[in-house]
Symmetry: C2
Subunit: 136 residues, 2 copies
DNA sequence: GTGAAAATGATTATCATTATCGTTATCACA
DNA sequence: TGTGATAACGATAATGATAATCATTTTCAC
C-alpha cells in the first residue's frame, strides 16, 4: 500500500526513486518521532544497500519541501514526523522519551499576543513540556 | 569589582581559581546569552592562556551547580546566562538572534494544567518564540 | 614546606551531520 | 529503443561542537 507520505512526495513532482519510497514508508511504519538511524534501520529491512547518506539527504529534502517536521527534543539527535495539517506541540517523558501531542488554542493566542506587545511578528515557536508519570 | 556570579561560585565551596573567576566575570560582561567561544574570547582578554577546554569544563560545572542556564536556541551551539531567581522564556529575532525575555503566568499555568490532564507531572519546559520586526 | 587531590592546557576522540566524488539510475527526446 | 544530460546514490572524508585523556601545574590541609 502506498503511504500518505509517498503520495505527497510524488505530488511535488520530485522523482520518487526506490530509496525515497522506502524511506517515506519507513517513517510511516515507525511510531513516535523516529530518529535518523531508526529510519535507516527500518529502511534497511526493505533494501539492505540503502546508505545513511541517502537517508540524511532525503530527510532534509522532505523537510525543505514541508513534508516532514524536524525536532531536536532535549538537545539530542534529530527526530522526524510527517508534517501534520494542524500544528501541535509535545509533552515528553524525560525517562522514556515517549511523547504525547497536544494543541492548546489559549497558549497559541497568548504567544502571538506576547510577540505583538513587543512590536514583533510571531513567525514560529517551539514548546516542549518535559514530564514524569505522576507517581515518581 | 566581584561579580554576582563570582560570589555565588565561592558560596558553593568550590575552588574559585583564577580561570573560574575570569570565566564568571566574562559571562557577566557579555550581554544577551553568550556562546562558548564568545565567553572564551572575552576571557582571553584577561588571560591569554585560558584554554577552550577549561571554558567548556567550567561552564558545565557552573550549569550543574545551578549557577548558569544553558540554552540551545534554534538547534545551534549552546548559549549561557546567569541563572535568574525567576524563570523566564525568550523571544528570539530570527534575523539577528537577539533575544527578549518574558514571563507569562497564564501560559505557565496552562502548561502545568496540560501535563496534569494527561496524568503527568510537569518537570520543566522549553518555550521559544521566533519573531521578526513588524515591518518585514 | 610536603604530598594528595583537584584543576588546567594541549591534544585527541567522539558523534551527528554535511560535503565530496566517482558511479549508477532516470528521463526527455531523437 | 538508444543516447546523452542530469539527478540521485553509496562510500567515505570532512566538519564542528563538545567531551575525554593525560601529563603538568596549582591548591590546600596538615
Ligand atoms: Mn508530533
Ligand atoms: Mn534569558
Ligand atoms: Zn504550539
Ligand atoms: Zn516558561
Amino acid at each position: 500500500m502506498e503511504s500518505r507520505l509517498e503520495k505527497r512526495v510524488s505530488n511535488t513532482g520530485l522523482r520518487l526513486t526506490a530509496q525515497r519510497r522506502i524511506i517515506a514508508r519507513a517513517i510511516c511504519l515507525i511510531e513516535d518521532h523516529p530518529s535518523v538511524d531508526e529510519i535507516h534501520r527500518k529502511a534497511l529491512e526493505t533494501n539492505p544497500n540503502i546508505s545513511i547518506a541517502t537517508v540524511y539527504r532525503t530527510l532534509r529534502l522532505f523537510e525543505e519541501l514541508g513534508l516532514l517536521d524536524k525536532h531536536e527534543f532535549n538537545q539530542s539527535r534529530a527526530r522526524y514526523e510527517e508534517a501534520t495539517e494542524n500544528h501541535h506541540d509535545h509533552l515528553i517523558d524525560i525517562e522514556t522519551g515517549k511523547t504525547i501531542e497536544f494543541h492548546d488554542k489559549e497558549i497559541e493566542a497568548l504567544q502571538k499576543e506576547i510577540a505583538n506587545e513587543n512590536g514583533l511578528r510571531l513567525i514560529g515557536h517551539r514548546m516542549e513540556l518535559y514530564v514524569r508519570p505522576l507517581g515518581s
